[in-house]
């Protein structure tokens, strides 16, 4: 192969060459990475609810719903919009939900971002928060006023979850509006009636003790109690909420105002997860089961319960019909909140060159016509208000709609947002920490303590 002679001088020469190359590269990069590139919107475009319908225009819409199920419905929504505005062509980019978040991170900051995006998080969640902070998203207040979007959601306060105040240290919950939700959800316990019968559970549990007894009953009959996914977050949310006596105690923490992740109600929630896993109420290998795996397993009849978001109601209707349903995890008080709320916003890139068209698409999406259409397609409960009398796809969807209406009413207990919206790192840190804790590798106290320290660090950093 290569001769040995002259190797030392060759290394010296190679080193010299590399050093020269490095110097050249640095000289080319000159200033700090990224300075002088991107940032800033594409000039101010007039806010209008009408746009020129004679000129053909193409906009890109990026989402993580894939091509089947929810994704297929969204494809239909796009088709219906294109039919309404024949001069608009929508180029849709989609990939599966789990890889979507990674695929858009650096795309949004690029010189040619998608015009309209769906984001999996809001609040301080990774994605929404980073994009708002960097100025990549278009504030929607002017369009909200022009289209009167507040009315579609039952008041401006309902959209607070998608507002960030950049003048107050990126404070979440007030300020400019950045997105419109596609879903209003609640975390509930989906159930498989046939398996409940087999386990000898004759009625829906109304107290927590009854719930745990039903799990034990299932276990004794060799039935998996809860199909748990490796994220564990929604189960934790459900438990923390049902052990709390008010939405404020949980919301204060998620919104970054006050409170602690190590609140007794949450430590109890963590311990419960650990106990349930040890007792074998989850399917074996929960730490490694992906979200879609868990969903498929439950709908294939492999477990009695499935603690998840109400966006599964469409699947429950089509799969189980009258033999399925959803109930709320029994709680310690009628004022105990429910996890979920409005989520998954559609947003517009600040650099979009067709802001009026993008806003028109958003407007179409939250319109009564489309919202009712989504509800009849098993979408779950859409973000905007569903017109009364709209046909649900089945008993579960109807239950969900009724429950959510009650929860969100003036006298209802209200909802708490998703836990991973409390900090940009929680989307990856929480599942990993929960997996360790659930398997008994860490104690509930040290688990909550670690997350709490991380939360404190983030709040400091955010305000600085």
């Amino acid at each position: 192969m290569l001769t040995r002679t002259g190797r030392h001088s060759n290394f010296k020469r190679a080193a010299l060459a590399s050093a020269t190359g490095l110097a050249v590269a640095i000289a080319l990069a000159a200033c700090a990475p990224g300075s002088g590139s991107s940032g800033g919107s594409s000039g101010s475009q007039p806010v209008t609810t009408k746009f020129d319908t004679s000129k053909p225009v193409t906009i890109t819409v990026d989402d993580g719903w894939g091509t089947t199920g929810t994704g297929a419905t969204f494809a239909n929504v796009i088709k219906r919009f294109e039919k309404k505005y024949p001069n608009v062509t929508i180029k849709r980019l989609t990939t599966d939900y789990n890889s979507y978040a990674n695929s858009i991170n650096l795309k949004v900051a690029s010189n040619d971002p998608p015009d309209v995006l769906m984001l999996e998080t809001a609040g301080y969640g990774q994605g929404f928060y980073n994009f708002v902070k960097a100025g990549d998203l278009l504030p929607l207040d002017a369009y909200a006023k022009a289209y009167n979007w507040d009315a579609r959601f039952g008041g401006s306060a309902k959209l607070d979850v998608f507002k960030v105040d950049k003048s107050k240290g990126d404070l979440w919950g007030s300020g400019a509006l950045y997105g419109l939700p596609e879903q209003t959800s609640m975390i509930g316990v989906f159930y498989n009636k046939k398996l409940m019968d087999k386990a000898g559970v004759t009625s829906i549990p109304t107290t927590f003790d009854q719930f745990e007894s039903s799990l034990a009953a299932a276990k004794s009959k060799g039935i998996v109690g809860i199909e748990e996914s490796s994220t564990y977050i929604h189960t934790e949310m459900a438990l923390w909420d049902s052990f709390s006596t008010s939405a404020a105690s949980v919301n204060n923490w998620i919104y970054g105002a006050s409170g602690s992740f190590s609140a007794p109600a949450n430590v109890k929630a963590a311990k419960t997860i650990q106990d349930w896993q040890t007792a074998g109420y989850f399917e074996p290998g929960a730490s490694g089961e992906s979200d879609s795996d868990a969903a498929s397993a439950f709908f294939a009849g492999k477990s009695m319960y499935y603690i998840e978001g109400s966006w599964n109601s469409g699947s429950a209707d089509t799969t189980f019909g009258a033999n399925g349903g959803v109930f709320q995890l029994p709680s310690v008080s009628p004022q105990s909140p429910v996890g979920g709320g409005r989520s998954t916003p559609l947003v517009i890139s600040a650099k979009s060159k067709h802001q009026a068209v993008d806003a028109a698409f958003l407007n179409y999406f939250v319109s009564a016509e489309n919202t009712d259409y989504l509800f009849t397609q098993g979408w779950g409960v859409p973000g905007a208000l569903v017109s009364s009398g709209t046909q649900a796809t089945g008993p579960t969807s109807q239950t969900v709609l009724d429950d959510i209406t009650k929860i969100n009413s003036a006298s209802g207990p209200g909802t708490t947002p998703f836990l991973d919206w409390a900090s940009p790192t929680f989307g990856t840190a929480l599942p990993a920490a929960l997996q360790s804790m659930a398997s008994g590798k860490t104690t509930p106290q040290s688990f909550t303590g670690t997350i709490q320290s991380s939360w404190i660090d983030f709040q400091k950093q955010r305000k600085s």
Binding site: R4, A29, A32, P33, G39, N105
Partner: protein
């Protein structure tokens, strides 16, 4: 005789290579000196990212996991290949073409196909567990890729499956070039099969072993696709390795400076070890 026009032949591919490999290396080193999320202003931190990397327990555990996988991707397949060659190769084989096609097949598949296939095979209701139940070892069943203790060894096993065929094909072929006289000499000296293996076969395959070592070592550190498709580094951080850590830092957490520092460290390690391996070979 010097032929300066040689440079002209080298220039076009060199230009592309510079653009796509050399400049990024330089740029990567440059970025590693900053804290940058790809969007806002970058903050100069000098060697800060390197210090963080070397003191970060996640990095340490990812490094440990990578080393474990090197054993599975490199050391074990090479041993398997050598042992098999020792047993089989002394005399010509029939149907060699057919055996080679089988053994080398995993190398032809996309790693995503390998990942998708093995993910199902190792599932809790998948064929491996069913096989265990069938032969009465039902107690050993578990969710292999989802188990805290077994996820990393399972990833390793997939790697061993993937690379063993390559090593076998390389060694079987290389063994055909070993001078039979050496074997005769060993036999005359009264060497048994095992002595023969260590004194004739292995030394005779030295060059091929080096090639196999470098190839398998490179794959073991470049296995991002396989891990990402099967476990994404989970459960917890049990299968987080050097390559997945760099990708996660860069594209999930958007810490480009930290990711680049890790990349530089990994690059240096790979180059150093490869140079060492090839130096060991020519120093004979």
């Amino acid at each position: 005789m010097r032929q300066p026009e040689g440079l002209l032949y080298v220039l076009p591919p060199l230009a592309l290579f510079t653009l796509v490999i050399l400049v990024p290396i330089g740029y990567g080193v440059w970025i590693s000196l900053w804290n940058w999320d790809g969007v806002s202003q970058a903050k100069f931190v000098g060697l800060g990212n390197y210090i963080d990397a070397l003191t970060d327990p996640t990095v340490a555990s990812a490094a440990f996991h990578s080393i474990v996988l090197v054993a599975f991707y490199s050391a074990i397949p090479i041993c398997i290949g050598l042992v098999l060659t020792g047993i089989i190769a002394r005399h010509p084989l029939r149907l060699m073409g057919m055996w080679r096609v089988f053994l080398f097949l995993p190398q032809v598949l996309s790693v995503v196909v390998v990942g998708v296939a093995w993910q199902w095979l190792l599932q809790s209701d998948g064929p491996l567990n069913e096989l265990l139940r069938l032969i009465g070892l039902g107690d050993l069943t578990r969710v292999w890729l989802g188990d805290f203790t077994w996820a990393l060894p399972s990833e390793g096993a997939i790697g061993t499956w993937l690379m063993s065929g390559l090593c076998m094909v390389l060694f079987l072929s290389g063994a055909q070039h070993i001078d039979t006289e050496l074997y005769d000499a060993a036999a005359i000296d009264g060497a048994g099969a095992i002595r023969e293996f260590f004194t004739v076969t292995v030394p005779g395959l030295r060059r091929v072993i080096v090639v196999a070592a470098i190839l398998t070592f490179a794959v073991s550190l470049n296995n991002f696709a396989l891990i990402w498709v099967t476990t994404q580094g989970g459960p917890g951080n049990q299968t987080q390795v050097a390559s997945t850590l760099i990708y996660t830092r860069a594209f999930v957490l958007e810490e480009l400076g930290a990711a680049s520092a890790l990349a530089v460290i990994l690059g240096i390690i790979v180059l150093a070890i490869s140079a060492a391996i090839s130096r060991l070979s020519s120093d004979s």
